[in-house]
Amino acid sequence: MMESDWRLASKRNALQTRAAMIRAIRSFFADRDYIEVETPTRIPGPAPEAHIDAIPSDGWYLHTSPELCMKRLLAAGYPRIFQITKCFRGAERGSHHIPEFTLLEWYESGIDYMRMMEVCEELILSVARDLGHEEDITYRGRRIAMDRPWERLPVREAFKRYSPLSMEEALERDRFDEIMIGEIEPRIGAEGPVFLYDYPVALGALARVKQTDPRVAERFELYMGGLELANAFSELTDAVEQRVRFEEELKSRRASGRATYPMPERFLATLPAMPESSGIALGVDRLAMIFTDRASIDDVVTFTPEDL
């Protein structure tokens, strides 16, 4: 008799929890009258972003996120939508990255990113309860206190506390990402989940500029157990400004010798009809890492590219 694939067999518990988690996500949105949608995985081009590489597919691209199509649905009058879909990003591989991964995206009209933080709290707490977590979660030996409200920390303040450079200096000297990874991420969220918010405008190509501080965009990231779990915006609805931002991203891609993508004209054409909304993308694999207490994304997917 052929011996079974033991490594794959040993993922059973993690895969069962992952499946229960996805059921819990679906039931959360169903209870709140969101429509689950499916948009095409293969599209003419992704939203142009400086550091996200799409994988070509027969003249088009595999989507890096369902964002453009989801927003066209918002513009067409679907105010509460969610989607769980495979996304693809080239050259991203590490213990928290895999080129083919699962994103949960949801959008709601009539709310901004601050309200979205609350929805995010509600979702994750509801999933935790469905999975049998009464209070706190332990991840990699660290206790995550789940009681609301979770900490909210402006990016500028995080730089003030933990970085030798201010947010603006770091951006100017092209050291923002390095400091975020090396100095800030290891020091935030030691007690519980934390929302980092108000990112420099240049780092939120699809986010609305904050009225009271035009240097930042209404964007947040959720960190939990040291993992970057979700990214959200108050969505930019000004088509003229959106085009300028995309052009800047494309310029940056050209300057660094990366592939450029076609301007998403049909998306831009429908953008004026899109109501004020907030949207968020949450890494399903990473959430599964937390609920299964696994250190590597490899442990919560059936197969990695290397296994195939």
Binding site: E3, I52, E92, G94, M180, I181, N231
Partner: protein, 187 residues
């Protein structure tokens, strides 16, 4: 020439004329930010280590190393001896140069020895090695739930997790890149 996306643990690159091996590697990419490749590098000649974060666009020279197929003979005074089976030439690597590979070295195993000029510096293992289990708790019948594991030790002293049905004296195959159990080997 290597690109930043080629960087990974155990890759050997050349910096200022010296060969370096990547001993620790972390890929990270904050939110919408750029890919960062954090490496701990060890100078293969003098053992000095340093940490450095690289970015997309950085390029690297492969280390100018020559590989030669040799056979592992024995360990003596914390040194491992390897022999070229055609010329009978023998070379020694220190425990430090052999590093984690030590746990997978069984007598007469064929490996690649890395030379920088005439100097032996390191070792490349075959991807898979077969080793005999020397320590394992007996298999409690009925404990046949798929996916369960137990700790075992193989002839080199290397400890790992394996399925519960593995018993002492059996030969198993290990993936040397991950250090994990793969399958039982029938002789």
């Amino acid at each position: 020439m290597y690109n930043a996306s080629d960087l990974r643990k155990n890759l050997k690159i050349q910096i200022d004329g010296d060969p370096y091996v990547i001993v620790e590697f972390t890929f990270s990419k904050p939110g919408k930010g750029q890919s960062l490749y954090r490496c701990k590098l060890k100078n293969m000649i003098n053992g000095n280590q340093f940490e450095r974060t690289y970015r997309s666009g950085d390029t690297f020279e492969p280390a100018n190393l020559r590989e030669k197929k040799m056979q592992y003979l024995y360990e003596e005074d914390r040194k491992c001896c390897f022999m070229d089976t055609e010329t009978y030439e023998q070379v020694y690597l220190t425990e430090e140069q052999v590093g984690d590979a030590k746990g997978f070295l069984s007598d007469n195993l064929d490996v690649e020895i890395l030379f920088f000029g005439e100097e032996p510096l390191g070792i490349t293992l075959p991807n898979f090695v077969d080793l005999t289990v020397t320590v394992a708790e007996p298999w409690a019948k009925g404990d046949s739930v798929t996916g369960k594991s137990k700790p075992i030790v193989v002839e080199t002293g290397y400890a790992l997790q394996a399925p519960p049905f593995i018993e002492e004296g059996e030969k198993i195959r290990i993936d040397t890149r991950t250090g994990e159990y793969l399958t039982r080997v029938k002789e």
